[in-house]
Point group: C2
Chain length 235, copies 2
């Protein structure tokens, strides 16, 4: 496997850090190739700005998707974005590893998605979902959260966990052609015993080595909704 891990925790000593270390060790020892994009170490920018491009479609009016589309055909992405895109193309398995912040990706990781999964690169020209250029790759959301598992159910304050994961699964991963694997969720790592944490790490190592043999979650095919062709924003 060629695994790209996009890591979005500011503290290497955190349980997220332990998951990252275990992943790199386990996958490497298993003969797989691993690359890590450590967004805090990279000081990865989150804002979508003109400096994301070396090419210019319209110098007077920044329409981000238009600039993305031009940059995609003319090799015009800024270095930090281009490097991440190379890694995404290289991988067959993408892992987003992060602490859950406000029921979604941390801002720094959301910014990675906003900037890297560009029009013309990840979708566009009629293509998305099952026709997306990156189709065939797999993606895994791996995250820690403060809350315990029983906070997530139909009749709880937070509701079912799928309520917050489906928009990412369908709207980011499937949209870009990635089949989503069952998420790896660590509940309340700060409040459990060392043994329970070790058990999480054991399960994590086991899962990682078998990622390519897992059956992905159902893929939302655009054609099934009569939307097989991406027709551009708002068309």
């Amino acid at each position: 496997m060629k695994v790209l891990i996009v890591f979005a925790h500011p503290e290497p000593k955190s349980f997220n850090g332990a998951l990252l270390e275990a992943a790199v060790e386990t996958l490497s020892a298993g003969g797989h190739d691993v690359q890590v994009s450590d967004l805090y170490k990279l000081h990865f920018a989150s804002g979508t700005t003109r400096s994301d491009f070396t090419t210019v479609a319209d110098p007077d009016y920044l329409k981000y998707q238009i600039e993305e589309a031009k940059a995609s055909t003319e090799n015009g992405f800024a270095t930090d974005i281009a490097e991440q895109q190379r890694r995404v193309v290289w991988c067959d398995h993408l892992i987003l590893l992060y602490p859950l912040y406000w029921f979604h990706l941390p801002g720094i990781l959301k910014g990675w998605v906003d900037r890297v999964m560009a029009a013309g690169f990840a979708y566009g020209g009629g293509k998305w979902y099952e026709t997306a250029p990156l189709y065939g790759r797999r993606a895994l959301l791996a995250f820690t959260m403060g809350a315990p598992q029983d906070r997530w159910a139909d009749d709880t304050l937070f509701g079912p966990l799928d309520g917050i994961l489906n928009p990412i699964r369908y709207g980011i991963l499937n949209f870009c052609g990635f089949e989503a694997l069952e998420p790896f969720v660590v509940y309340a790592p700060a409040r459990i015993t060392d043994d329970a944490r070790r058990a999480y790490l054991d399960r994590w190592r086991e899962r990682l080595l078998g990622l390519d043999r897992e059956t992905p979650l159902p893929f939302r095919r655009a054609a099934d909704f009569g939307a097989g062709r991406y027709r551009g924003a708002g068309s």
Copy 2:
């Protein structure tokens, strides 16, 4: 009204920019107070790092919520966060104005939520939802998107719009004590006529002047789920 607009579009000439301009003009002319946090102009950081604090709870291990809680009691937030928190406390209406990116807030705006709505400031010490320190304020999501309205329904590829808005409404706004107003959604502003855009701006101005007379969407009360008291992450 005291209205804080958090604005997250990089292009002032965009329709988002037009909505911002209209809001400031209309509210000011109506005798209301307005402050604008223009995140791109501020180069607002998205990552949660140690430099977010002037106080230190643990110099060897960054546990962000612990540092937030300490900073909250000791006036220890970095200047950019402290300034935003002052504005949030000042306002009675909070407007998040942004382009929809990947079915959620843009990374730069998600980072604003991650960093500003801190433990000890927006929740904690037993308080959240209807007991949150900021309870009683109102919040409005105002956003543009590339897709037209008919893309959002039970039987479409994207599903109903509430599927992507509810996690923000319940998990960020209500969590922090804000009553959510009906979102203001602009569908595909780049693909509609000038007249249709003007009609949106007219509706926007009208809504703004009546925000304090609107009936908010149902508030998710924690007590209704037997979760009246915030018991700390993972407790």
